[in-house]
């Protein structure tokens, strides 16, 4: 079977999960505080996570083309399918950017009143609403353009053949080559804007790599899950243990790579012991200890020890189990990147409101009160805050909703073209792949 059929039962299944997700987001919105922080952080968290996965899929296609790789060619349509989420993903990000632009959310501290805040004033050349909105549009648009070109050429190759001297493939190589440095720099810029600036005073030079690695591992794990699903439904008979073994190696290797970046970031900050840097980890270790250390267990210890052996990477059961774990694990990782900073901002905004209330009567005392309120906010976080300290059921529901949406988009894209790109020059290599 070379044509994926998006069955209506699967559609119904996915749509029901999307409805669940919408329902959860609705409940979050109405049960939320006045700033709707929980709703906005959930939206941001899932949008960024799945947009990143689709970006990484396109990135990996470009990497494989540039590296003259052939092993993946049989199932590269799966990555193209993941990549097709980029339209919707960037759409969601633009929505969030517009909401930030028009002050409809309070996700970002820098988007509020930063007068007198030396650090944020210094950063305001980059961290401002214009940059956020137009960066999202321009950079997101660039990603869409490259995805669109790579996908269109791949489909053309299917339809018209590889062309004289593999002209279509050479054209793809050209786009892939340009895309790589662009995605390298722009993904970092967007991660700074979208995620790192949630902790607006804080910065880390490792952060962009670290979150991009998180996206990448999640993408690889999701690829394994989807391939196993497709194989179980009778597609991709020629995608064998050998291919799964290689993707399993990527999962193993990049889980370690992610840990390497995680640890490098942690150790440098721990070693330098500069208060404005350590605050990021202090916040998470004090108030989110289960998530913080569990993150390492799920994303490093388990994949490392389970996939260490040769045969666990080849057996569909074990590699599928780890892949499922790791997808959830990196969603969890993003949870940790998003929530504490946003919660802190929400508290500051709330404290600021108090401050402006009392300012008319007794200035100094009110300022003192605001500081106390801010301190109280930080203290407050050390108690259990549902949806922040741990992902609640609403967060999980939202995640499943987004997951279903992502799969819906991916399966729709998958059903629009043959599963195996028949005219790809490297197809033979992929069919005979053996490790």
């Amino acid at each position: 079977m070379n044509q994926f059929v998006f069955k209506s039962t699967v559609k119904t299944f996915l749509i029901s999960f999307m409805v669940l997700g919408l329902l959860c987001m609705g409940i979050t919105w109405f049960s939320d505080d006045e700033l709707h922080t929980r709703f906005w952080t959930n939206l941001l968290h899932n949008s960024v996570f799945f947009t990143g996965i689709s970006l990484m899929a396109t990135f990996f296609i470009a990497v494989c083309i540039t590296a003259y790789a052939g092993w993946h060619v049989q199932f590269k349509r799966v990555w193209e399918a993941f990549g097709s989420f980029i339209y919707l993903g960037i759409g969601l990000m633009v929505f969030i950017a517009l909401a930030t632009y028009f002050d409809l959310n309070h996700l970002y501290h820098w988007a509020g009143d930063i007068e007198g805040d030396k650090v944020l004033e210094g950063k305001s050349g980059f961290l401002n609403k214009n940059w956020y909105l137009f960066g999202t549009i321009i950079i997101g648009g660039t990603w869409i353009f490259f995805y669109n070109r790579l996908r269109a050429l791949s489909l053309e190759e299917d339809r018209d053949g590889a062309g004289v001297n593999f002209a279509k493939h050479r054209r793809m190589r050209w786009y892939a080559g340009f895309f790589l440095p662009i995605v390298g720099f722009t993904s970092a810029a967007m991660i700074w804007q979208w995620i790192m600036s949630l902790d607006a005073h804080w910065y880390s030079t490792m952060f962009a790599w670290y979150s991009a690695a998180s996206w990448f591992v999640a993408m690889i794990a999701l690829t394994i899950l989807i391939l196993l699903y497709l194989k179980a439904n009778g597609y991709y008979d020629n995608v064998t243990q050998e291919h799964i073994h290689d993707i399993g190696k990527f999962l193993f290797a990049f889980s370690i790579f992610w840990t390497y970046l995680w640890f490098s970031q942690y150790m440098l900050i721990w070693y330098a012991n500069v208060g404005e840097e350590t605050i990021y980890f202090k916040e998470r270790m004090d108030n989110y200890p289960v998530l913080f250390f569990g993150n390492l267990v799920v994303n490093f210890v388990l994949p490392f020890f389970i996939l260490l052996r040769n045969d666990t990477k080849r057996k569909f059961g074990s590699v599928g189990f780890v892949a499922g774990l790791v997808v959830l694990g990196h969603w969890w990782d993003y949870f940790l990147m998003v929530k504490p900073g946003a919660l802190h901002t929400a508290h500051e905004v709330a404290a600021h409101h108090d401050h402006s209330h009392g300012a008319g009567d007794h200035g100094a005392e009110a300022a003192h009160g605001a500081m106390e309120a801010a301190g109280h906010g930080a203290e407050h976080a050390s108690h259990f805050v549902s949806g922040f300290t741990l992902p609640g059921l609403l967060e999980l529901g939202t995640f499943f909703g987004f997951f279903a949406l992502f799969l819906f988009v991916a399966f729709t894209s998958l059903s629009k073209a043959s599963l195996v790109p028949e005219n790809d020059p490297y197809l033979g290599e992929s069919l005979h792949h053996h490790v």
Partner: protein, 173 residues
């Protein structure tokens, strides 16, 4: 190589595909292959020869774990008992600072341990001369060798001519 003076009859093949077919034929003819030599690893050859997966990586894991323990326990002992020094106000037992060295020693022990294990098992090492059948099996020829005590010379020769070996030789190693 513990054994000495083995009488060997071997055939050289020009192509690994022909050689693989020959190995399959030898299996179906129940000819006991002593060994197969090739200039590069040939995919799919191991299962045909009935070779099990190498257990070298188990040795690698054990050496690696040994390295982890050596580094971690070593540093723990040095920095808490033997010669405690305060670095930058950190506690004596500063686990994050130990991680890079623990990692390095894990890799070092695993790699050196595996090389030594591999050399020992294969009887390789400086000053050791191992017998070999033909220079060209390190270059462009694929060789199937039979031990004459297991396979009749005449049977081997007819096998080689039937499977398209470009050359058949006898040698005692």
């Amino acid at each position: 190589m513990a054994q000495k003076n083995i009488d060997v009859v071997y055939g050289l093949y020009d192509d690994e595909v022909i050689m693989m077919e020959a190995v399959k034929k030898a299996n179906s003819d129940h000819l006991e292959i002593m060994d197969v030599y090739s200039p590069f690893p040939v995919h799919g050859l191991d299962p045909l020869l009935g070779l099990e997966e190498s257990r070298l990586h188990i040795a690698g894991f054990i050496f690696g774990a040994l390295g982890t323990l050596t580094a971690f326990l070593g540093m723990t002992w040095i920095f808490t008992k033997d010669w405690p020094i305060i670095f930058g106000g950190k506690p004596y037992w500063s686990v994050p600072a130990f991680i890079p060295i623990t990692f390095e020693l894990t890799v070092l022990f695993a790699s050196i341990g595996m090389v030594v294990t591999f050399y020992t098992i294969c009887g390789l090492g400086p000053g050791v001369t191992n017998p070999y059948l033909d220079d060209r099996i390190t270059d462009d020829k694929f060789c199937i060798a039979f031990n004459k005590s297991e396979v009749e010379s005449s049977a081997a020769e007819s096998f080689f001519s039937a499977t398209g070996a470009s050359e058949v030789n006898h040698k005692t190693i």
